[in-house]
Symmetry: C2
Subunit: 417 residues, 2 copies
Amino acid sequence: MDVIAYMSEVGQKAREAATQIVKASTHDKNQALLATAEFIDQSRQLLVEANQQDLENGRANGLDAALLDRLELTQSRIDTMIEGLNQVAALPDPVGVITDMAYRPSGIQVGKMRVPLGVIGIIYESRPNVTVEAASLCLKSGNATVLRGGSEALHSNQAIARCIALGLEKAGLPADAVQVINTTDRAAVGQLITMPEYVDVIVPRGGKGLIERISREAKVPVIKHLDGICHVYVDQHADLDKALNVADNAKTHRYGTCNTMETLLVHSAVASTFLPQFAARMAEKQVELRGCGQTQAIISSAAASEEDWSTEYLGPVLSVKIVSDLDEAVRHINQYGSHHTDAILTENYTLARRFLNEVDSSSVMVNASTRFADGFEYGLGAEIGISTDKLHARGPVGLEGLTSQKYVVFGDGHIRQ
Amino acid sequence: MDVIAYMSEVGQKAREAATQIVKASTHDKNQALLATAEFIDQSRQLLVEANQQDLENGRANGLDAALLDRLELTQSRIDTMIEGLNQVAALPDPVGVITDMAYRPSGIQVGKMRVPLGVIGIIYESRPNVTVEAASLCLKSGNATVLRGGSEALHSNQAIARCIALGLEKAGLPADAVQVINTTDRAAVGQLITMPEYVDVIVPRGGKGLIERISREAKVPVIKHLDGICHVYVDQHADLDKALNVADNAKTHRYGTCNTMETLLVHSAVASTFLPQFAARMAEKQVELRGCGQTQAIISSAAASEEDWSTEYLGPVLSVKIVSDLDEAVRHINQYGSHHTDAILTENYTLARRFLNEVDSSSVMVNASTRFADGFEYGLGAEIGISTDKLHARGPVGLEGLTSQKYVVFGDGHIRQ
């Protein structure tokens, strides 16, 4: 198979489909989403069979248990896909929304209309349900999509792709609006990220290695985050009960998510009160603590190395550092963090405001768990990912992040003087 | 001089200054702008002398008259720089503006705060007044700036840079917040656009060749437009009096600007009425017309070649094409245009809406001159440039386009369930 020719053809078809999908009515897009949900429901048997094939190949190729688990399409995961499609259908359509329409002194009326980006390339790893999640958000926001899933999920993804194609066709929309790459050749990824003539933006979902490689090699903008090294800073003016619950939740609610706390910072004035209570909680939940020298003088913990401060553990490990003031906390966060999500626990008005202003992260919080950094929790309805970049979309990226704006101007024969 | 070491030092200083300028109060930033205006006013003699040196060098190096004209700092251009500084000081500060703050079902309160991008690199050609314009917008939006002007304006730019540095110092802000590169070595540009660790975004201002080269080689996002191939489409339902005035204005108000009409599209049903009147106006103003075959059958004009449809003349030349309907007009614009600014002249509601929706340009207009596509006319207060890209900023880019947003979350000890 000539991958370059194949990807060019996929790109051309996507670009062509984008010119149709940009004009699709809200009704037709929703119909496509709801019909896809029905086809998935009717195809449970086919989906599970395709998935079984992937699981067997995975076992034969020695995939580890965690990967096999992520790869599996259980009935409940199929339910979740169907539910997700119904939810995205229920979200407001961002396309065509006009805001800020106002008259100017010249007499023209100027506003901004929200428009799709065009063609979005999604590159992701083993979870086949991402196929539906990503495709539905891109479709609702009026974009054509090219999806490249993990090679280990090829059969599952193709089976899901057929349901989406049927859903699009039932709604009278071009099936090419959602294309799932049907080759496991890795050169396909290299092509996808270097075709600015066909692809407007890439959204990679997966491990840091994948995302770093894509960011480095892409000739197309990439909406992404690499790490989630999130901090909770317990200030000297914190309500220590709140602090205990929030820090506990930020670390232990889920270990493997990007908005999980990886480093706890504690003001020296409250460390000897707070840390022993917190350490007891962590001991109950078998979370390993790695502390700075001052921390080790208060609670028993392993020594944190320089590397710990910039490590995303994604597991039951937490680094702990005592700081002398807000300045030191902010400096530490901006230096070692990943600009994802950071929270201060404080009852002090001025310090709370300073933390919000000075921490350079996509989400900054006062007295709330970092685990709230999420498209659903923020009211975006859904999210395609989280961006720690500053340009275009930052923080959880929902339908709006998959769109752009254009200026619209109404006149009555107005000319510039 | 070791350009790589020099640029690294400039980048480091900019990054450090950015951490200060992000926190600067509106008052201090405005003071810096107003003080710069005063220092420029007091330094007229020095500025003119420095500029004389550039002009002499330019003449000795055989610069053409147009370039020498753009290079010259007349008293009236100095007045304009001072006026510009005062205007930017009077604009609202975008930094720290919080919008969409709302309670979520979990009880947290979520909103978005506008924040600076960080360090902005500006690359521009001969006009020294760009130094002040660009620096003032970046400063007001809380960014540090590295400016690389044309080598022919080196002395003028350095003299202006001294005024800005004095203004920053007078306001107690770091002088490194605005740095003007003091070498004419072209390697400096290559460095500036490939230091993502120090520079967050590049804004190039100048000819298409410069911008293409920068976009191709940059390892940093670039806010830009390449061409301004703007269209006016006179629909069959146009009010031909309005159409005549708007098309005339779009072409002849100024020839050299990016929002000037370069191609006129006319519906076949009104071509024989409209074109002779329009051609008479253009003849008065000595605008050369290059028409399609159908156009040549109605008015006397040179033949337009395929290349004409994608040419930005930037002068008194206009290509003219007769189309059979809106679909053909939209197809032509999306294929040959530069996604900058396009206008329809029509009294028909449905066709106006279709044009706004289907033309994929950063500004789309009904019954108004393309010349309105401009930051001042749109109410942005000022503009650093116009973007035809879809990601981040699109259309005229003002202070807001030089900022990003971060999510702010207020809780009262909220944890995720």
